[in-house]
Symmetry: D3
């Protein structure tokens, strides 16, 4: 029933592609210029070297488009596909120089984005059947916010707020500035834009109750054990949205999912996902 | 005897800081605006939460400078310092709103850069006494080339070429296009700019000999075992610079270092370094 | 109890200042160059020529800063001040050339921004005592979104969502694509990010009920009469947030405010606010 | 005999389109993503809701081109056309998401540009038969100089200088710096680039005579009554170009036109033109 | 009586400085990094190596400011100064690395700009006493329009129009499209903006008469001999502004100046001025 | 055997084309707008006016593409072609306005780039048969590094390092900071990236010997006479790469080439090449 994840507007990530090509290609690829004739043409394919969730193919296409609009780029694996090793993801045909110039940048994008999607999928699988969502955080790589969050979505996760502008999350510093959870939530409700819900980080059942009483829309339970969370859930009833976070890993995620939260947010999805192994092979 | 690593020219990384702030802050930090009075001032410090090699402090300073030039930013730990947990790295004083707006972006930079430096230092320590250099690759995060390579240097590693423009490395595709290692090197020597050395990837002793005979300046031995490398070293003598690469990890790196190569290049330094744990604390 | 409106991050409006100076100054102010000696210095002040709500002073300061960082710029009237005619808003001291080069651009910004604030304040005054908020729309001038919305806030209005990214508003086209109000809201609830409320445009009491039943957070009543709105309010009770819009002017706004809505949104605040009269005078 | 107005070079206004889309669309249109399937296609048309002079269609096309080059955009009304209400201006066919994402930005451009053209046309009509030109000023919206002036031309007006760089206009501050009208004009003639005429603002017949004697090319009569202007015209004869300005409105413009000036310049054309009513309708 | 030439607005040339530093410095100055300690400080001066007209000092300052705001830069020779060889133009004090990184870019700017000023001054000297102006053309180096024209002014020349936008010059192609000189000028007068004079290129006395009769403001006589020009001047009388151009060099320029033209325009000022010899010396 | 010179990546020079068009066209070509109907079409060709080496045709194409993608641009002369006068280089067909708007910018690029190529070819011809390379320097025009070096290559020259980042050249200041040639080279060898050779500027045979002993890869002999160079060559033998520089002109270059150096570097190639004569003719 869900739509497939939407690739972010190109204006939010094409500048990163430009930076990436500028830093790698700079004034030109010397090795290619001295060994490959300018008119040499050939075919190549980018392929998986391991099981993975494919993510980043449109970015790969943009990399090669920026280098050489004349290259023919064929997409073999769609976003979210789960090939085993040795499967074609993108096929290229045209100038060999252009293919080699874009190879490393394209692979670097694909390896990270597929890495995040693959890592996310493992968390999603671990909570299968619980109805709990796996959610990302703002611990993305600087410059990569939109691509990182898109990769989480391709992996089956959900996105938390994109940035500081499209969600309200009252954390410890905001709360202490306002004089406690209750006053903080009350102040936020008085001033918050109507289109934004108010989420509050709480550290105890008492704080959770204070937040709900003051009108919080949902709660973030950071660094609480599944047991603590279960207690809070039972005390508050089902009417409030709960999110757990804090050092959740593949071993512990299911216990959190079964503790009664609707969402588990995991910074590691974007700050610690291992890159996947992908390679570009010139075809004979 | 070595100079400390040089922070890359700001024009190569300030655009990334701008992208990073734009994607997180966008039209503004709603939570802060509704909870923190505009004239509230305070102090905060960024501190380590684990043992680490500090890297990225100048980038942290630039993040806060772009947000609010009026913030007072004091550097407590210099690049390359190795604090234990709980040590101050940067102290901030001024507008609480400004501090909170920059917090996540600053930490995201610091966590990755220190992560790379810390991870590199472990490899450097593992080969201590062998004289072998730990070297990075072009498997950096797109947009992050200069910061990633700088972090490797802060961790005690050496930098391979920055990009395709400042080094010649003949790899399989170049070699097959030229008809073999010998002809490839010969062609490269005839056309290469005089200021650049010629490195060649070889897969066997025979290829290594052909490369040297044709005038290669140094060799890359990719996915060879330490034993194979030792054989090649003994056959070629000490006159040629050798570099090993391919799946080297902390367990195997010393064996490579002792196999007779001058350099071991490791993609994982930049594509798989775990982020370190750092946090910003508002001071009471 | 409310904080004063926050000037948007400079990255969201400084590019507009650059565009504005480039289009007016281009390669240089010929008239000034041929009549004013390069070393002539003097004083000038920008002053009101009518009753107004002052807005845009920080933008005026940025205009002159970009032209000549050596100009001394003194702020005489704070944002939101309500001078009568002939009152100083900003005082300038330094190069006469610089003052004259920035004059028109600075005044153009100030006249529009103060115009919006002044116009908004009239609507706010018209509903005084009702507790109803005056809210802006996305009918801002392209390129001016953040400054327009800031000016509304300075005038005492509230901001609707900033753009398409920080609020959900189901309008006719979304609803018909989903097969009606009920299914549209249900689909939105299933897929919407947790941090965003769901607003729905409805055209009748039946639609309003369907929206509420499906879980809408608040309703937009577009082009309904105050009487229709009152009927809907009475039928739904006080639990749902209602917003009226559509051709509301200074004559009709109070009737809407008293009809039971919490918010009245008015496109004219930003697409039809008359500019105020401001002028720059060289001081003798 | 006149050519149709020339759309300014795209480099002078495409950056404004980019700013406008960035501020509205930002990281993406959430409402559309959760309600419209990614592969939904449809047709829409932008149409007039009132009598108007159409202006801005090429900008509308550029808005949709930046969002989605795959959209089919058909122009139904040419620049300067004068439809009644309900007439198609642009027809769109393709992705429904793309159409909805660009709707508001496209309409905002079209409403303002057509608004200026429509307002200008009223002034032009008011002076019909007199031979007097209606001319704009530099009181344009910052960032919009070229589009505003183009809209004036589409409405039948003429453009005053584009900016400070392509015309010389000696105003009070320049004159007092030079020691009077005569010395100011003399100094200007000695230093002015040969390709630029010299216009001088004068406040009396005596100043007008001094300006002409010193070699001014044409005169600006600011805030003079039609009667005063007629006196000056008769005293000076027909050889000098005269321009009137200052608070001219639709009621008074014909009196100015008949007072003997060749041009009447009106800031309100660009700082106070009401936007026209245009809408985008999804076609069934 | 003339003001000193005005340095163009920084927005028109700072992007060129950025391009220049990016292309030379790129990811960093390797030689300096491996030989100069990061904390080494010293003094240097940029000095003349020949007789020259100094031009470009503010650009030199900007180069070093972009590299290192901490460098102390002292201006020893003002724009337009005419030192002999061995005279200090700019003195630098601070980081040796920063000085060496900016050396070549700074000298490249200074050598070209002073070269144009020096070359222009020779033409100006050659026509001394005739009252004829030496004028530049649009044959400037792409990207350098404003700096090239400024350098001409520093050398004592006058500037022709800056670009296609601030002057009207009817050339052969425009004239033939309009059906002859007379119709072309008439059409131009009917449509030209009032602030711009109309210059026409003519090839004979007959064309010159036709242009004047149709209302041309001034004439360009391209590739006419001084004798031809004298004949035209005598036939037309003193009332019309004449400009000569076309292959004028230092040998022939005085004959042109004495032929009765007010201006001689010379493309070689900007497309063929030899660079002057300047050098940076580290001080002991 | 050599590949034809590679046009640099468009990202390194398209910004210069944008700057160039912005500075010349600005808000529009007034002359063309008032004399050429908007729908006039025609043909034109750019042709040589002298013997020359053609260089810059892809840049010319980009100029017209940026102005009007609808123009048909046909390339008549390939890069490096050597036409006599009157030969077509590029043919254009389409909007006359577009052709005239791009004319001057296109010619300015072509004249300089072909000028450098033509000048370089004369040096190359002067050393024909000696095997010595003609090499450029970093004395290029700021902003033009990549185009200047490309033009040298088209003229048959070789490129020295592109900038400070892709080659090591120890000059007097580096050497004195290190305490002499020997220590400087030794320090450089210890710290230099492995992919870069080390070139050293030496002033005497003694310094040359010290450099070689310390491991320099090649030597720069600046301002030495051919006789001095021959002495050094004979003393050092053939094993070391030598480059001569310093005031070499067309008269002296062959003597240098025959003195035993492999390379002669000549700053005048890029700082003093005379522009060639090219013109655009509208076809009847």
């Amino acid at each position: 029933m869900s739509h497939p994840p939407t690739l972010p507007p190109s204006s939010t990530w094409c500048p990163l592609v430009e930076l990436a090509l500028a830093e790698d290609l700079g004034p030109g690829d010397v090795t290619t210029q001295i060994t490959i004739p300018p008119d040499a043409t050939g075919r190549a394919r980018i392929e998986s070297r391991q099981e993975m969730v494919v993510c980043g193919v449109p970015v790969v296409c943009e990399v090669f488009r920026q280098i050489d609009p004349g290259l023919e780029v064929k997409v073999d694996a769609s976003e979210g596909a789960t090939p085993g090793p040795g499967v074609a993801i993108v096929s290229l045909s045209g100038s060999v120089r252009s293919i080699l110039e874009g190879e490393r940048t394209a692979l670097n994008f694909l390896a990270r984005m597929s890495g995040i999607a693959t890592f996310t999928r493992r968390f999603v699988a671990a909570v299968e059947g619980t109805g709990t969502q796996i959610v990302d955080t703002r611990k993305t790589l600087p410059g990569w916010r939109m691509l990182d969050k898109y990769a989480v979505a391709v992996g089956g996760g959900a996105n938390h707020r994109i940035g500081l502008f499209d969600g309200i999350l009252l954390k410890d510093n905001h709360i202490s500035a306002a004089g406690g959870v209750g006053p903080a939530v009350a102040a936020a409700r008085a001033r918050a834009p109507a289109n934004l819900r108010i989420q509050v980080e709480v550290e105890s059942l008492a704080e959770a109750r204070a937040a709900c009483d003051a009108g919080a829309d949902f709660l973030l339970l950071d660094n609480r054990s599944p047991e603590e969370i279960r207690t809070i859930r039972e005390a508050l009833g089902d009417g409030v949205l709960l999110e757990a976070s804090g050092g959740v890993d593949l071993d512990s995620v299911r216990a959190y999912a079964e503790s009664g939260v609707q969402r588990v947010s995991i910074g590691a999805l974007t700050h610690s996902a291992p890159g996947v192994d992908v390679a570009l092979e010139i075809q004979p």
